[in-house]
């Protein structure tokens, strides 16, 4: 029997309230498989490839891009087996989707639900003044008219606003759009971080760790290597954290509905700063099962796609939700310590400080060694001080044997 499956605007974390459907990459009748990219979304976290989670045939596309809708909004449907029953042509299928009070919101956690409800309640419909021609061009160019500052009567978006935007990417209008995108990202970060600070009883702990062995191992491994095969310290640190979490799974999971749920997988999110400002926090799934080389490859891949350095690369929605813990590495920017704010519903965030040369007393001698500070911010509802200290010491120990990672 054919089952109809909803395709909804995904939540890419508790800080996301809405997203813009920029483009469908499939049409009605197309066969899709789990993991296929079916649409491009423009979100507070930048342009994202939207994946489908089920196999089937696209039966309906209900929202015509470009359109900004709240998280959870029904965008389309697919049938999980057999041929699509609906024989209407594509134009007839695309209807304007009305946002009702009781949205079919599919969210990852209660934190998101509460947050999004608040935002939706505050939100009022934005009416954009624009002529049909302007709307047509905006639609073809995947431009969201509500984001454009109109220069016509009553702030109407007129043809010259759109033309300027397309022809002159460095124009005032384009920089205004960029500012809005950045402001949206900042507002998403502000919202989730304020909420975290309010709801989570954080406590902080740090440990200075010798990384002489790790640096030596990296030197040997990278010796005579080409840049594309080069491993950097953070890849080793990520792998070491994943291995340590296997011993201390109490730090790996979610605090939901007043209780801790230990996560099955170890999906570590890594804070990546963007050159244009703001951050994205994509995850690498199951790092405990990857080698250090694979971890480095994955890290490099998500960094390039996060920063959109090479054209065509975008993060996928599955990389922006479901992280079980977060890592932030401020060391390269010269800070000794960084105590992050936990990303709910996670229960911990680990920060790495800069590598410093230090004098080490070894017996009767003084050697020059290297160390860094590992900083842990933990949720006291789940983790106690002694457990946090044990975690840090275990991580330090694991880093002394990088060859075993």
């Amino acid at each position: 029997m054919t089952k109809s499956i909803d395709i909804t605007m995904p939540s890419l974390g508790a800080d996301m309230t809405e997203g813009m459907l920029a483009e469908w990459l499939i049409k009605v009748g197309d066969k899709v498989q789990h993991g296929d990219v079916i649409a491009v979304l423009e979100t507070q976290k930048g342009a994202i490839d939207m994946e489908v989670y089920d196999d089937g045939i696209i039966s309906e596309l209900l929202v015509k891009p470009p359109k900004t809708v709240p998280v959870g909004t029904l965008l389309g449907r697919l049938n999980d087996s057999g041929l699509a029953q609906n024989t209407l042509n594509e134009t007839e299928q695309i209807i304007e989707y009305k946002i009702s009070d009781d949205l079919d919101v599919r969210l990852v956690d209660q934190t998101s639900v509460n947050h999004i409800k608040t935002v939706i309640n505050k939100k009022s419909d934005v009416i954009v003044n624009a002529s049909p021609v302007v709307r047509k061009i905006a639609s073809e160019q995947s431009l969201d008219l509500s984001m454009i500052k109109g220069s016509g009567f009553n702030n109407a978006v007129v043809l010259r606003d759109i033309e300027l935007l397309i022809k002159e990417p460095n124009s005032k209008q384009a920089s205004y759009l960029k500012d809005i995108k950045l402001a949206k990202m900042r507002s998403a970060i502000a919202s989730i971080m304020s909420q975290s600070n309010k709801d989570i009883p954080h406590f902080y702990m740090s440990l200075e760790v010798s990384i002489d062995n790790a640096q030596r191992w990296l030197e040997q491994t990278n010796h005579d290597m080409a840049p594309q095969a080069h491993i950097i310290l953070i890849a080793l640190l990520l792998k070491a954290v994943a291995i340590t979490l296997k011993t201390y799974p109490e730090l790996n999971g979610f605090y939901l509905n007043d209780r801790f749920e230990q996560a099955k997988d170890i999906n570590i999110a890594n804070v990546i700063s963007l050159r244009t400002g703001g951050v994205v926090v994509p995850l690498i799934a199951n790092i405990d099962q990857l080698t250090v080389f694979e971890t480095m490859k994955a890290l490099r891949d998500i960094t390039i796609r996060s920063r959109s350095v090479k054209s065509g690369g975008r993060l996928r929605n599955s990389e922006l939700s479901g992280a079980t813990i977060t890592i932030t590495n401020m060391g390269e920017r010269g800070a000794d310590c960084v105590f992050g704010i936990i990303h709910p519903p996670q229960v911990a965030i680990i920060g790495f400080g800069k590598v410093k040369k230090i004098a080490q007393v070894c017996g009767d001698k003084i050697n020059i060694g290297e160390q860094l500070t590992i900083c842990l911010s933990a949720d006291h509802r789940v983790i106690d001080g002694i457990l946090a200290a044990k975690f840090l010491n275990r991580l330090a120990k694991i880093l002394q044997k990088p060859e075993q990672l």
Binding site: H223, D224, H230, I234, R275, R300, T303, V309, E332
Partner: protein
């Protein structure tokens, strides 16, 4: 490959990781990593781009030759002459 072609490649490789950088922004004897705010991931991506654009082979021991614009230019030039 002539010298200004090498210069173009260095700029292009830098712009692959830091698109906002223009040639005029660069002090030829300053460390790119500081000046263009490149982290270690950006730096190896810049080297990889440079390798692809110029056709020279870059190895870990050569990295220090790529920290400044002038050093990178001289190093690529010497490598190309030896090819």
């Amino acid at each position: 490959m002539i010298l200004n072609e090498i210069e173009r490649h260095i700029i292009k490789a830098l712009q692959e990781v830091a698109p906002e950088i223009e040639q005029d922004d660069i002090d030829c004897d300053e460390d790119f990593r500081e000046e263009c705010d490149l982290d270690s991931m950006d730096f190896i991506n810049y080297l990889e781009a440079l390798q692809r654009l110029t056709g020279i082979k870059i190895r870990e021991g050569d990295y220090a030759n790529f920290y400044t614009f002038n050093n990178a230019k001289a190093f690529i030039w010497s490598k190309l002459k030896a090819m």
